[in-house]
């Protein structure tokens, strides 16, 4: 089915979610989520472990029935028209759902058959996707031997076999090394160029910033902020002056020196000696002021600079905790370590 066929008869948003709630016993995984994604747009759903991202994706892909609220995918209700929703969506879940005993090619061909393509079509589509995802060399080897990045790419390819109009990717790059992640981003950008609507979840703030037109930040089952990456950054009030204090024992002196520059108190990482001050719209004036203030206090600093706020700053400002310090942190692969303020600013 082409995007055009899949979306006939509906000119509302590709994804529309209203007041969605879902509990697992005591745990309220979703507490009334509202979302809207225009056709052909990318929505980045950003949240820490346990925020409810996977639960939202599962409801939207008909795997879980919500307790309340409704969700439409291209106008089809995920509860009442689940079969029709399944016709037009693709899902790459949080773990790579590939069959290890089968080769990459076999994995894709069987998907084609299960989407009711003919044998010839399945074969053709599999070959096409293998080429596109740079898996041709490994195509006829069992997927057991694939690297994490290859397995992820195969998994994504499998979700595309039937050319879905709306695609759901649950943490597509978690557990990948930086190079594989860049590769994945490139692939995702290309996909979007072809007119599909995409909802992707991520814990990587930079990833949402890179890929998404719109971002919703969710925490404890609620949308706590929504907008473009730019809007979210503006929300916390402009630029950040940042520097590292060379001599750790002078950190307090440095903080006192720059305290009056910003709006609110500077944030400090005592381990690395890094100090950040939000300076609002003061821009490069603030930078000059900071240099003077530090000089006057006799503090030697390194890497003094001004930057646009990262989404990590946004997250900290919105939730009062970093993106990594969710209460129920479950052990999982590929998690970042270190302080959240630094993670997004590479």
């Amino acid at each position: 089915m082409t995007v055009r066929e899949a979306t006939r008869g509906w000119d509302g948003p590709a994804i529309l979610v209203e007041g969605l709630r879902k509990s697992f016993g005591e745990v309220q995984a979703l507490r009334g989520i509202d979302l809207e994604v225009a056709r052909g747009q990318v929505l980045g759903m950003l949240g820490p472990n346990g925020a409810g991202k996977t639960t939202a994706v599962k409801v939207l892909t008909t795997l879980l029935a919500p307790d309340a609220g409704r969700a439409l995918v291209e106008g089809r209700d995920v509860v009442h028209s689940a079969a029709a929703v399944r016709e037009i969506i693709g899902l790459a879940g949080q773990s790579a759902a590939i069959q290890e005993e089968l080769t990459g090619r076999e994995n894709l061909e069987i998907m084609g058959r299960l989407y009711h393509l003919t044998k010839g079509e399945s074969r053709h589509r599999a070959a096409q996707l293998l080429e596109r995802f740079d898996l041709e060399d490994a195509a006829d080897r069992p997927a057991k031997g694939y690297s994490g990045g290859m397995a992820r790419r195969l998994d994504l390819a499998a979700s595309l076999v039937a050319r879905p109009a709306v695609l759901f990717l649950d943490e597509p790059t978690t557990g990948l090394d930086p190079r594989s992640r860049m590769g994945m981003w490139e692939v995702i950008r290309e996909l979007v160029g072809e007119g599909a609507t995409l909802l992707l979840t991520t814990q990587y703030l930079e990833e949402a910033d890179e890929l998404a037109d719109q971002i919703v930040v969710i925490d404890h089952g609620e949308v706590i902020a929504a907008g473009t990456g730019e809007e979210l950054k503006n929300r916390i009030g402009g630029d950040v002056v940042e520097f590292v204090v060379a001599d750790r024992t002078h950190v307090d002196t440095a903080v006192a020196a720059v305290a009056t520059l910003g709006e609110g108190s500077p944030s400090v990482d005592r381990e690395t000696g890094q100090v950040s001050v939000r300076v609002g719209a003061a821009g490069s004036n603030a930078l000059v002021d900071a240099v003077r203030a530090l000089d006057a206090a006799g503090v030697r600093s390194e890497g003094l600079g001004i930057r646009r706020p990262s989404l990590d700053d946004v997250f900290l400002a919105l939730t009062g905790h970093g993106a990594d310090s969710a209460p129920e942190t479950r052990g999982r692969r590929g998690r970042r370590s270190g302080r959240p303020e630094h993670a997004g600013a590479r």
């Binding site: 106008g75 009442h80 079969a83 069959q99």
Partner: protein
Amino acid sequence: MTTVAHPAPNAIHAPSPSFGDRLRYGWADTANLTRRDIKIWTRNPAFLVFAVIQPVMFVLLFRYVFGGAIPTTVPGGYVNYLMPGIIAQSAAFASFGTAIALARQMQRGVIDRFRSMPMARSAVLLGRLAADTLRLTVTVIVVLGVGYAVGFRFLTGIGPAIGMLVLGIVFGVAICTISAFVGMAIRDEESVGSFGLIWLFPLTFVSSAFVTVRTMPGWLQAFANNQPVTIVIDEMRAMALGGPLVEHGWQSAAWLAGIFVVFIPLAVRAYRRS
């Protein structure tokens, strides 16, 4: 079809596929998944061990190690007593593969992906059972072959002999439906591997499979005599060696039908809910 403007457009009504289409797709999905599951099975050395080597070891162990110590009045000696029991037992234990494969697919998200696709709800389970029926049949035939090599002989005709094999296979498939439910309910390969099928041990060993129930203590006899494994094995034994077929035949049919009626819906429900 009109679309009410934002903020609350009505959902469009998507026509559901006709009954004929559903049937056609259901059949195609099941066939494709069966082929897929067979392919996976043939590439997995662990399954080969389960399906062939382990049952053969059981035959040899009971025939030569325990066999001498177990008195029997059956014509042809202990090997004739043993074979119907061990065929049923091998068929039942083949369901390990069913539970583990489904738990693994659950865990890896393969089942979630299937559930997000326009596929018949029962196809995953039926495809799995079809592939496992074939696997069971291979196991049963190998075990029977080894049995023949170590002295087993059918004492009846070709009809009852085939009947015994078919009953053994149907019994195995029934146990597979229970295992399918267990595998999808537990959803964790390791847990299924270590305790998911522990219930099979008392069921197969506290039965007439290897020894006559009369040698057990009275309280155990009450269980052994009235549980389905004994009933099915007694019927298989009567088919292989001669004896009254009717009473245990009806009871076997009732038990097997009961297992299918209860566990297929349970397994389908576990699949939908996962």
